[in-house]
């Protein structure tokens, strides 16, 4: 080998074998890579597939058609010309359960025994009363007439009708007894049962009844919480990044701060929850379960992420831009705010959106500050008791009713939709404003 005068024999068998081995190694490596991607994609498809298959029925509601007569006796006479307060009082006093029972008995006149009547009315959701109250509130003139309405069925009927529970099993193994199944089948034969997109799911708050439970309350809760997070973490994070990157002297102190910010970004989120509990609730006495506390807690968690992303974006602005502006006599603040920050903004916003998406999916710290409560009302502001989407998912996943399984998956789909939308905006922003220097 050391004799450089000797020609290499490129055609020798040994050389050919070496070449063949090299090609084999190349293609082997390529297939390992493809295999890894296929495996990852397969797992993802399995995960999303199972969520979607389970979740789709969660978006629907099974309804039963009933003839309901709004008996004026129940409302203390006609409601025509009454003030809204009087209407509300009349509605509060009215026996809507009775109207539903009457409506059902008009279909099944044979059912008279007390127990059977209870089983029959159990087919209809307890939330149906609120539906009727709603109808009267919107049109008080309806009192005195008999109208055909579609009312939500109970979750047990829903799971039987959409097939997630079997009806051909022993009576003791299902939630509906044989009589209820027979009534249900009679209703189905007369087309009095239908499945529709559930408006309650999209517009309602949480409920003990799966068929009435909705994500809107937690979506709004997430919105208020993220609003607080953004309002706190964005300006603080960007200003901190600008100071550290553009103004701070590079010395031992700034190194120490940098290391600690990186450490902060790696702290488990539940620790921030405990911090929020200790500081915001116990020391500052802010309202428990409120978006303001959740938002402030998530802001603590998101800020280091924003600082790191913003510093990277500022660092990516070429020094020649700074030199050019400084050479014209721009002050440090002018250089930063006229040139560097606007150029870094798309990168900063990308980091902010990814940080916010992270905050949107966060559960653990919010459990610590009491946002895990059962909240029926839609929160109207940052100090109302609220819960957020991931916590709502956690709560529903914990509920024993079979119908909450599909609600859980449906809520996961809603959460994933928001996350994908936010990440898509981040990607678009990056693509749109990407600069070549």
């Amino acid at each position: 080998m050391t004799d450089t005068g000797q020609r290499n024999d490129w055609a020798s068998d040994e050389m050919q074998r070496r070449i063949a081995r090299r090609y084999a190694a190349d293609s082997r490596f390529k297939w390992y890579g493809i295999g890894a991607i296929l495996l990852a994609m397969g797992v993802l498809v399995l995960l999303l597939g199972s969520i979607i298959v389970t979740g789709i029925p969660g978006f629907t509601q099974t309804q039963v058609r009933l003839q309901v007569s709004f008996d004026p006796e129940q409302f203390g006479g006609s409601l025509k010309g009454k003030t809204p307060e009087e209407v509300d009082a009349a509605i509060a006093a009215a026996d809507f359960s009775g109207m539903i029972r009457t409506g059902l008995q008009s279909i099944f006149p044979d059912v008279t025994q007390r127990r059977d009547v209870r089983d029959l009315t159990d087919l209809v959701s307890s939330g149906a009363r609120q539906k009727l109250a709603q109808i009267v509130r919107e049109d008080p003139g309806i009192v005195g007439s008999t109208v055909e309405v579609w009312l939500p069925t109970s979750d047990d009927v829903h799971t039987i009708v959409n097939g997630s529970m079997e009806r051909d099993v022993a009576e003791s193994d299902r939630r509906l007894n044989d009589k209820q199944i027979a009534w249900l089948e009679t209703l189905e034969k007369t087309d009095s049962i239908r499945g529709t997109l559930s408006s309650d799911f999209f517009t309602g708050g949480d409920s003990r009844e799966p068929e009435m439970a909705g994500v809107w309350g937690s979506v709004v809760g997430s919105f208020w919480t993220l609003l607080v997070t953004l309002a706190v973490a964005f300006p603080l994070g960007v200003l901190a990044a600008v100071y550290l990157e553009e103004f701070a002297p590079k010395n031992r102190w700034s190194d120490l701060i940098e290391v600690n910010i990186n450490n902060l970004a790696a702290v488990p989120s539940i620790v921030f929850g405990l911090l929020g509990l200790a500081v915001y609730l116990n020391v500052m006495h802010l309202p428990r379960s409120a978006p303001i506390v959740g938002g402030l807690t998530l802001a603590l968690m998101t800020m280091p992420v924003i600082i790191i992303a913003a510093r990277a974006a500022l660092k990516a602005v070429p020094p020649s831009i700074r030199a050019g502006a400084m050479g014209l006599g721009a002050s440090k603040v002018q250089v930063t705010f006229h040139h560097v920050l606007p150029l870094a903004m798309p990168g900063i916003l990308t980091g902010v959106i990814i940080g916010m998406a992270h905050a949107l999916g966060e559960t653990a710290p919010l459990l610590m500050i009491g946002m895990v409560a059962f909240i029926v009302d839609i929160p109207g502001g940052i100090s109302d008791a609220a819960t957020v989407l991931p916590v709502q998912i956690y709560l529903w996943a914990d509920s024993p009713e079979r119908a909450f399984v599909e609600k859980t998956s449906a809520a996961i789909m809603v959460l994933l939709t928001f996350l994908i939308l936010m990440n898509a905006v981040a990607v678009l922003l990056r693509k749109r404003f990407e600069r070549k220097w």
């Binding site: 002297p249 020649s320 831009i321 050019g324 400084m326 014209l328 006599g329 002018q334 040139h339 150029l343």
Partner: protein, 257 residues
């Protein structure tokens, strides 16, 4: 007072620059005159760019840089605490090695300097400044119909002339140029050199260059830097035809560097 003295712009004596422990410039004395181009030549790392950056205090922005000695601009020490560095940089403009227009419109590139210094107030005044600056930089005919386009869309040579126009727009007294043609092709270089020769009428110009021919073509005075010191300075013609120092002769004939 002799005419030489009347034209004196920068007088620098015993300038030292330290980057941390490293002494980048070891006592440089140099005078820079109005209506003249002073070329700073020398091998890479000899300190000529560092010296240039002392003249508008751009070294202030480098962490750990320390400048000592006296640098007088019209008789005032620019490192004096009373001197406003922002105003100094408006009086002493700079053009960089790589064209660095702001990623804004051509108009905004020129108008930025006057705007931050409050040199104009009305749109018409800005229009006038932009037009004269671009004309002085010989770029007006090429870009007058597309002032709204980004400065970065121009060719390399046009970008560099845009940067020169940008520097002119704040009416500086001195223009520092740090290898302004090193990123340009020969044709663009020729345009910029012509421009430098024209600008000499109104400004004092200091140019750092690696090209001997360029120094010989555009400058009246030349200073040869080596290892942080000035080896020889004088009239360009004398330096290039009859250098007094051995090292200068070796460098300009290409024997080292």
């Amino acid at each position: 007072m002799s005419t030489e003295d009347a034209k004196l712009k920068f007088q620098t004596r015993g300038v030292h620059v330290f980057y941390g422990d490293k002494e980048a410039i070891k006592g440089v004395d140099l005078d820079i005159y109005n209506n003249e181009v002073t070329a700073l030549i020398g091998p890479s790392g000899c300190g000529k760019s560092t010296y240039l950056r002392c003249l508008n205090r751009m070294n202030d922005t480098v962490d750990g840089a320390k400048v000592t000695g006296s640098i007088l601009l019209d008789g005032t020490d620019i490192y004096d605490r009373k001197v406003d560095v922002v105003q100094l940089r408006a009086r002493v403009g700079m053009v960089f090695q790589k064209p660095n227009p702001f990623p804004k419109s051509i108009f905004e590139n020129i108008a930025y300097g006057p705007r931050i210094h409050g040199l104009a107030s009305k749109k018409s005044e800005y229009d006038a400044i932009v037009e004269t600056s671009l004309k002085k930089a010989g770029l007006w005919n090429e870009v007058s119909d597309r002032l709204d386009e980004p400065g970065t869309s121009l060719s390399g040579g046009q970008q560099q002339r845009l940067c020169i126009a940008r520097a002119i727009a704040v009416s500086p007294e001195v223009i520092l140029m740090d290898e302004p043609c090193s990123a340009l092709d020969p044709i663009a270089t020729a345009r910029v050199e012509e421009l430098i020769d024209e600008l000499r009428e109104n400004y004092a110009i200091v140019i750092v260059t690696h090209s001997m021919q360029q120094a010989a073509r555009v400058s009246q005075k030349t200073a040869f830097f080596h290892l942080g010191e000035i080896v020889e300075r004088g009239h360009t013609e004398q330096i290039f035809t009859n250098p007094r120092e051995e090292r200068t002769r070796d460098y300009i004939t290409g024997r080292f560097g």
